[in-house]
């Protein structure tokens, strides 16, 4: 199951783990990604709070975490090849988080609700 924030981050849930990245829509809007600023393994992230940033040629955008928990892995591939985010943002997640409180997922957007957010931003 995948959930979204209105700020365009997704959390793909597998058991107690959340794979966090940015949506296809966000990757298209950003254009060429040149740097992903990530936390370190064992850092704590908090739902709704900034955990890093993604840089396109044009600007830096903060990344917000959909869930609270501990970073158990970062996608090191993105350090050397940040453009993977443009190629397939859903495959190339940014951080993997062990969730502290799975009930937080109830506050996130479903894929259908998120699609409506994107549609509204296009106009």
């Amino acid at each position: 199951m995948t959930y979204f924030l209105p700020s365009h981050e997704y959390a793909r849930i597998e058991d107690n783990l959340a794979y966090i990245g940015i949506s296809k829509f966000a990757a298209e809007q950003l254009g060429n990604v040149v740097y992903v600023d990530m936390p370190e393994v064992d850092d704590e992230v908090v739902a709704g709070e900034e955990f890093g940033a993604i840089e396109s040629v044009k600007a830096a955008s903060d990344l917000f975490s959909p869930v609270s928990g501990t970073v158990v892995e970062i996608n090191e591939e993105l350090l050397d090849n940040p453009k993977l985010v443009n190629e397939d943002p859903e495959k190339h997640w940014i951080i993997k988080v062990e969730m502290r409180d799975p009930s937080e997922l109830e506050k996130l957007l479903s894929p259908e609700a998120y699609a409506k957010v994107c549609e509204a931003e296009k106009h």
Binding site: G31, V34, Y35, D37, A53, E55, V57, A60
Partner: protein
């Protein structure tokens, strides 16, 4: 928000649009990197119709323009273009602009979109004591910039306009077959050879469509900024403001302090005598982080000594570079500094701010 005459052309190409200088402008079409490379290696076309145009004419036009402008236009030949600034009394930059000289009694000024209202008011207020007329022609002219090594060939083959007789920073007035005026100059804001073409909207729309049919890459303001940055060219709002003088911006060569009586001259003379307290420098950053406008520049002890004015991962050079306004004690080449990027600090070093050597046709 204002729209240029090509607005619907941009949206139908699927451009990413964003407000700039009061206009809804295209930032990119294919992507900033591809457009940037098209201009460096081939040719690209920009809609820059947001730029403002003001005509100064009358018996005292030379006297007046010399009074409001930092460059010396009295010795400039007709048909030449000169870059410089209008300053306030404190030496701060009201705007940076191009002046096209048609004759001693007629000058065509090209100003930044974001400053149109301010500039027109400034020019008119100072013109009262002179025998000149000030004509705001912003609504009459639209503008394309055709930039890149193939620019001369493309305007010849696609638009039927010969630019081969123009050298860098010269212009000519020409007419379309049905008598519409065109101003064509060998100028640009990319560090490449190229042309800027001013004409009424219907001429510009027709030229744009021909260029699209010929496969010329449409380029947005995104790569216009990455291109000018690599060439060390300033952007008003970043390296130049009402509070930064041309000397501080490292553009002293465009402010002729030996020229008599122009607004801001006394302030520049005083600043020269006292020595500069701050200066715009180039920085190279070690590490992957990209410094952005407004980020703090620190000395090696962590004290703030300046701010980033523009920063990018340079597309042509593949390095993390910035321009920054720093305390002049830290402005010498090779001075070690640091840049704060969000929670982390990265080492940096002062380098020349002309990161990319422009390829102008002299």
């Amino acid at each position: 928000m204002k729209k240029t005459c090509l607005h619907s052309n941009h949206t139908s190409l699927g451009a990413l649009m964003s407000p700039f200088g009061g206009f809804d402008m295209p930032i990119s079409y294919e992507g900033i990197e591809a457009e940037h490379r098209a201009v460096r290696e081939d040719v690209g076309v920009f809609d820059v119709s947001h730029m403002g145009e003001v005509l100064i004419s009358g018996p005292q036009a030379t006297l007046f323009v010399n009074y409001i402008f930092t460059g010396d236009i009295s010795t400039l030949e007709p048909g030449k273009v000169i870059y410089g600034m209008m300053l306030n009394e404190n030496g701060g930059v009201v705007d940076d602009l191009l002046v096209y000289k048609r004759s001693d009694s007629e000058y065509f000024l090209v100003i930044n979109a974001s400053n149109i209202d301010k500039d027109v008011a400034w020019i008119k207020a100072h013109a009262e004591k002179y025998d000149v007329s000030v004509d705001d022609q912003c609504d009459f002219w639209s503008e394309l910039a055709i930039q890149g090594p193939r620019a001369e060939e493309v305007i010849k083959t696609v638009l039927g306009i010969d630019g081969s007789d123009l050298s860098f920073y010269t212009f000519k007035d020409i007419k379309t077959d049905n008598g519409q005026p065109i101003v064509l100059s060998r100028t640009g804001y990319t560090g490449e050879d190229g042309f800027e073409l001013y004409a009424p909207a219907e001429v510009i729309v027709s030229a744009w469509n021909k260029l699209m049919q010929a496969g010329v890459a449409p380029c947005g303001l995104g790569c216009r900024d990455t291109l000018r940055f690599e060439a060390g060219l300033p952007l008003y709002g970043d390296e130049l403001t009402d509070e930064i003088t041309p000397l501080e911006a490292g553009l002293g060569m465009f402010a002729k302090v030996d020229k008599e009586g122009f607004i801001g001259r006394e302030a520049l003379v005083a600043q020269k005598a006292e020595g500069l307290k701050r200066k715009v420098v180039g920085l190279e950053i070690e590490g992957r982080a990209i410094p952005r406008h407004g980020y703090d520049v620190l000395d090696t002890d962590g004290n703030k000594v300046g701010e980033i004015t523009t920063g990018y991962h340079s597309i042509t050079l593949d390095r993390n570079l910035a321009m920054a306004l720093v305390d002049s004690r830290f402005s010498a080449l090779d001075t070690p500094l640091q840049v704060q990027v969000r929670r982390k600090v990265f080492p940096a070093k002062v380098i020349k701010k002309r990161f990319y050597t422009p390829k102008y046709k002299k």
